[in-house]
Every structure is written in structure tokens, then in C-alpha cells.
Amino acid sequence: MTPQNAAQTADTAAFVLADPADEALFWQQDKMHFPDPLSPMESAMIEGVIGHGFSHGIRAYDAPLGGMRVRTINGYQYQAMVPMNGTPEEMAAQGAVAEASIRAAIGRLDELWYEQILPEVREHLGFWDSFDLEGATRDALAAHVAETWDRLLRVWELHFEIVLPGYLAISEFDELYRGLFPEAGALEAYRLLEGLPNLTVEVGQALWTLSRRAGGAVRDVLMSHPAADVPARLYATSEGRAFLTELELYVDRYGRRADKWTIVAPSWTEDPTPVIERLQDFVRRPASEAPEVTTQAAAAARDHAIAEARERLRDYPAPIVGQFEAMLAAAQSGLVISEDHNFYIDNMSIHHLRAVLLEAGRRLAEDGTIVAANDVFMLTPEELQHALASPGANLHAVVEERLAAIARQRTITPPPVLGAIPTAPPPDDAFTRFAMKFNGVPQAPENEREVRGSAGSSGIVRGTARIIRSISESGRIRPGDIIVAETTAPPWTPLFATVAAVVTDTGGVLSHCAVVAREYGIPAVVGTGIATTVISDGQTIEVDGDAGVVRIV
């Protein structure tokens, strides 16, 4: 156990649901997206914006649910589904309506994303891109902050309008495939969806391409200096400056992303260290290890798997084959969209919120309201709005108190569930099937030398475990290491080209980590619940991605 873990204690008693109405609900900590204690501004973003978007999504598709409730308890984020108020018959009828509603959307995924949702998202991103934050007057900035929250509400409504049918398309294709081929393994259906061009893969490939453009002098700098010193060293030579320009272009195009779904970590545009660390790895690698090679192999394997499935269905009734083809096409679209929506919505909207809040923080720091721009994240949106409108307030004590609270919360291990634990088995509907594949189902280990989770991506490999809690720690990763993390987030994915495998505490076969591991062709075991607490940094482990087992060697 790491020293940090040793200090942690499970203190369930301190996790109290303040509202009595909450006690009847089943609360789960969303460790996959928000493993760390939250600042007040992040709590507001999650409860107000993301929770709002999810509730909008389930309403948009008529799901038989009353909504979703989000609470921050001791800094940790919990969410609960509010059951629909109705008789079992009414709920079943609503379930049928929801299924029809989501199937209609699955049938027109590309149109929904490329013609409706993405253009509207781009319009909002354009609004943020074109606003001159530094040049804005105080009043204009205050209005911009308010409008940013309004637009975020809409962007996250769109997020759930696309991810629900997008992921359900993948999940239901998996169901269909395993129904047609009952002997198929857990990951087999996903082979028909791999190697499709998407932005997650493009971010890694474009960085590789950039690494190939590093000439001798640039390679020398990259290979002999710490990442933090690289920009200054490059700036010293003309060849280096030319490369820096290309690096800036890369970061400008792909770098509106930070770490997980947090606003407190810097984007690559602010601090390109994670990008430079990957370049330092990539320049040492032979051309044969290009991510493109992996993608092409995945595409060939995909085409082979599709041809094989078609052959096996040759004499099947046309409605069955037609459904297979339609669901395959939808699942392929869903897979690309499940990646690309992260790029445009999750990463960019959070990047812009951070940028707007930081600018407001700078103004408040100038006023002396807070000490540093970063302190703005310790305020609530209301406190920020008030402070912008009436300079002269002093919120130092408030910020100090909240920073201290977060430091304290970091030492606590939050209980994974709270409230009324359900006794009935989960219903067998498309939404629940998807949720279980996204979140994973905990598995008990068979002995103390192993950890069990969901099969995430095929293959067996051995390597050195690296416990990674944020992308800022990625400098410790050496080629062939295995990431062991609570969760991984889209900005981490270029790392997948460096490591031999990945293991997470959270998520299922449809989690982002598992999807990307399959794209990069590395084994993954996800949703172990305990890997980061049981496995120590530096230990040799063996990851069996098909069985969902990690062995401590």
C-alpha cells in the first residue's frame, strides 16, 4: 500500500444524506468520472449542469425514471436514479415507449450527431473561442460567466441526447451478436467495431506524426532534458523554434483537454507537459510502432470478423440479417460518436468553463478578493457572481477553509454506495443492460494474489504496475509499464500508445478506458474496485484482458 492509502480510512458514518427524501434512494459514488474530492465550483458544475443534462436525456427518450439526483457528500460525488412514480403496468408501458424512442434515435445516429447536435455544439464552442477574455470589461466578463453557465446547460443536454442512443447502439449490438452466436466470448462483438477513425485515436496519431518531424537537434533536446525544460531549450535554436510552432499548432487543435472531468487541472494549452512527455517517448520508438500500424491491424481484424459473421448468417432469414446489418452500422457510428463527443463536449466545454472561471479568478485576485486566480474554484457560482459585481469583498478565509476541507477529504475513502441498497435484481431492459456494461459489475477475487474485474480488452501481458492518479504523474510511465488507475479519462489516451496494458478500479466493457484499450490493441481489466489499493507501484503484474483477471506475480 502507498503511504497515502495507508492513511485512508473508510468512514461511512460521516457520509450522511442530509435530505430525508434521499434516504429511500440508492446512491452510488461516481468514481469513474470524479474520483477526487470536488471543489465547490465543480460540485456546481456536476449537480447543476451534468445532472441537468442527464435528466434531460432520460426525459428526451421517455425513460421510465423520475430523474437523476446528484449530491456532493464530504466532497465526493454521489448520484441516484429517482424511480418513476407509477404502477408496475405503467412503468412497463413507459419502458416500451422508451425502447421505441431510443431505437428511433439509434436508427438515425449519424444524422442526429453530424447534422443536429455537433453543429449546435460547435456554435457554442465558437461563442467561447471568439470571446476576448483578457480584453473584456468587468461587466462584460460577468455577463459572459452567466452566459457560459446557460450555454453549458444546453451543451450537456445535447451530450446526453447523443450518448444515450450512441452507447445503447453499441450495447444492443453486443446483445444481438451474443444472441446470434451464443458461444461468442465477452469481447467478440466489439471486434466488429474496432479500428474506425475517431478523434481519440487521431489525437494520438497526430502526436506520433509530430514526433516523426523532430530533426536531430529537436530529438536531442527531447531525449536529454526534463519535459518542463523542453520548450525553453527548443526556443534557443531556429530548428527548435520551428518545431515549437508545430507543437503549438498541435496543442491548439487537440489540447483543449485537461485531466479527467475536472476543472482544477490545466489544459494542454496551458501546460503542454503531458504532450511533451509523450513526444519524448515517441521519438525513441521505431516507425514500426506507429499507432497507425495498430489501427490498420485492428481495421483488418474488424473486416475479417464482419466477413466471418456474414458468412455464418448467410442462410438466416432476411429480417435477422437486416437487423444485424442495421445494428452493426449503428454500433459503428455509436463507437465513433462515443469517442468524438468526448473531444467536443466533455473536454472542450470543461476547458472553456475553466478558462472563463480562471479569467474571473484573475480579476478577483487583482482586487484582492482571493489570493490566486486558482482560488476561484473554491467559490460557488453565486459567490463568484457577487464578487464580480461588488469588488472589495475578502473571501480569503472562505477559500482557506474549503481548501483545508478538500485536503481533509482526500484522506477519506468514501463508501461506494449509500442509502437504500436495492434487493431486487436489476431489470432486463436496454438502459439497464447498457448501464451495467458502462459501470461494470464488481467481482470477488479468488485469492489474495489476484484482482478481478470486467474483461475490457483482449490479450495477456506482464509488466510493471504504475499507480497513476492524474495525468500529471504520467512522466513516471516507461514503455511497457502497466497503468493501474482509479479511472482513465480521454486526455490520458496518448499514454495508451506507451503502456503494455491498463487496469482500473472503475468501469465496464463499455467504459471509455475499455473502448480505447481495444482501439490501441492493449489488454485491459476494468472495474476491479480495488486494484489501486491492492497493487503497489512497481510490482510486476500479469493482466489477462479476456478473463478480466490481474495476477500479482
Partner: protein, 291 residues
């Protein structure tokens, strides 16, 4: 019109050992058996899959010649065929013989065809078939059992249609029943699937009831025959045919009933939108009650 279904078996005069549907003798149950004669009668104007009857005991070369001709008529090499028994008194008004004699699906190539014909003939003498005959007061089979060799339709969905609902035979015989499922009809006939069911008012053909069931199994063509497989969960509750197809099936049953003069039990299949008539026989339970 005279129909094979109504004509009692007559003593067979000499006829060629291979009968095509368009041959006059094919419409005579005494030569072609009840099942094949019924289809031969209808084949000239309804979409009955092409085929021939092995009526006598031709040598292998003659059967091969017929199979090659069937291939030419179908425009494919070595077509997949269904080989079914067609006893003289089979599918007659008195008894249907449903399931008592062998049916072999997905037969391809002359060797398989010859084997299937032999197997069908052997089935006429199985204990089960003979018991059925005794129980229904039928004579032991005399002479070679006629065998029907017919193109196997690549069925997307199949249906069994009753022009009069057999369960309401007492009086409210105002409904046509259509039972349909995915794939070939064997899973419906064999009772391994709970089919979708349409009840249609007659003569208006207004749909009075539609039950889309949880269809867990289907029969599909497979190399060397057919096999029953699971229907994937997301598809089990999809309708196997459209309301329009159900209505067309019901219309055909009513037309045939009017024409033949007795309530009919049809077996149908669809390839895309193309309807095929695979079997037409009297509803024997009704006929017996009427008698």
C-alpha cells in the same frame, strides 16, 4: 372445378415414375399422393415452389435427370430442395398425417436427393406411422410411397394459416388465424416456437387481434439440411411478418376455402415480399366434426 383434394383415391393406372406439377397425373392423389396432388392442382396459378413427384420406382439415373431439369428450371446449379412424403391418403379430408412421415429439408445434390427419397419411403413403415394409420382406420401402405421433391424456399418468415379458427369451430367461425415466425416453418409446425398470431375477421379481413410473442427459436437453412437456432433477444419480440402480409395470407386462405369447398390449413413462406404456398390441406378436425 374438380379438385384433387376432394377426389377419392382411385386405382393407379400406369403413369410415368416422375411427375411434374404440370403433368395431369400429378393432380391425381392416386398417383402423386394427397399432398403433392393438392399442390400440383394449385401450382399453375399460385406461387407453389417448383418440384416433381417420384411416383413409381425409377432408377437413380431417372431421378438424377429430374433433379437436373429442376435445376435448369430454377436457373441454379444443384438447388436446395425439400423432400417430403406424399402418401395417397395423406392430407386428405379424413386425416392429415401431419408429422407422421419424414420431411427432409435442405437437401442438395443428387446423392443427397436419392438418400432423402429412400429415407422418406422408409418412414412410411415406421411404427409411429403405422400406428397412426391403425388409429385412423387407414390401410397399410401399398406400393411405393410417392415422394415430393420441391425447391426449398429461403424463407425469411413462414406462417401456418387456418381459414377457420380450429379452436372456435363450434360456432364463431368468423376468424382466420395466421401463425407466423422467423425462418422456415418447421419451428411452427414442430411446436418449438410460440408464433406471432393474427386473428382476422372474415370476410372483412379486419385485424381483430395481434399477438407478437417472444419467439425464441427459428429454423434456418444450413449446409446439409436445416437447423434450429436461438432468435437473438433483441429480435424476439419484433413482428415476424407485417399486417399486410398477414392480411394477404388470410385472403389466400379464404379464397382457397371458397374454391375448394372446405376449410383449409395452409403453410406459407415469404422470401422478401414474395409469398410461397408450401402446403394446402383440409382442416381435418373440422371435417371430422362435420361428418
Amino acid at each position: 372445378m374438380t379438385t384433387a383434394l376432394l377426389s377419392p383415391p382411385t386405382s393407379p393406372a400406369a403413369s410415368p415414375p416422375i411427375l411434374w406439377f404440370e403433368d395431369a397425373a400429378a393432380a391425381d392423389p392416386a398417383h402423386a399422393g394427397g399432398k403433392a396432388a393438392a399442390l400440383a392442382t394449385l401450382a399453375c396459378r399460385l406461387p407453389v415452389p417448383d418440384g416433381f413427384v417420384v411416383a413409381g420406382t425409377p432408377d437413380d439415373a431417372t431421378v438424377e435427370e429430374a433433379y437436373v431439369r429442376l435445376a435448369e428450371r430454377a436457373g441454379t446449379d444443384e438447388p436446395l430442395v425439400a423432400v417430403r412424403s406424399s402418401a395417397a391418403d395423406e392430407d386428405g379430408l379424413a386425416s392429415s398425417f401431419a408429422g407422421q412421415h419424414e420431411t427432409i429439408l435442405g437437401v442438395r445434390g443428387i446423392d443427397q436427393v436419392l438418400d432423402a427419397i429412400a429415407a422418406c419411403r422408409a418412414s412410411a413403415h415406421t411404427e409411429r406411422a403405422l400406428h397412426y394409420r391403425r388409429a385412423n382406420g387407414l390401410a397399410r401402405p401399398s406400393g411405393p410411397l410417392p415422394v415430393l421433391v420441391q425447391l426449398l424456399v429461403p424463407a425469411d418468415a413462414a406462417a401456418v394459416v387456418f381459414s377457420v379458427s380450429p379452436v372456435m369451430a363450434g360456432g364463431m367461425a368468423r376468424e382466420v388465424l395466421v401463425n407466423a415466425a422467423f425462418g422456415l416453418g418447421e419451428s411452427i409446425v414442430g411446436g418449438t416456437v410460440t408464433p406471432d398470431e393474427w386473428a382476422l375477421d372474415r370476410p372483412s379481413l379486419h385485424i381483430t387481434r395481434r399477438t407478437i410473442s417472444d419467439k425464441r427459436r427459428m429454423t434456418v437453412r444450413a449446409p446439409g439440411g436445416s437447423r434450429e437456432v436461438d432468435v437473438p433477444a433483441p429480435l424476439r419480440r419484433l413482428p415476424s411478418i407485417s399486417d399486410e402480409q398477414a392480411r394477404a395470407a388470410a385472403r389466400l386462405a379464404i379464397d382457397l376455402e371458397r374454391e375448394l369447398g372446405f376449410a383449409v390449413d395452409l403453410e406459407l413462406a415469404w422470401t422478401g415480399d414474395d409469398l410461397h404456398l408450401l402446403q394446402c390441406r383440409p382442416i381435418t378436425t373440422l371435417a371430422q366434426e362435420a361428418a
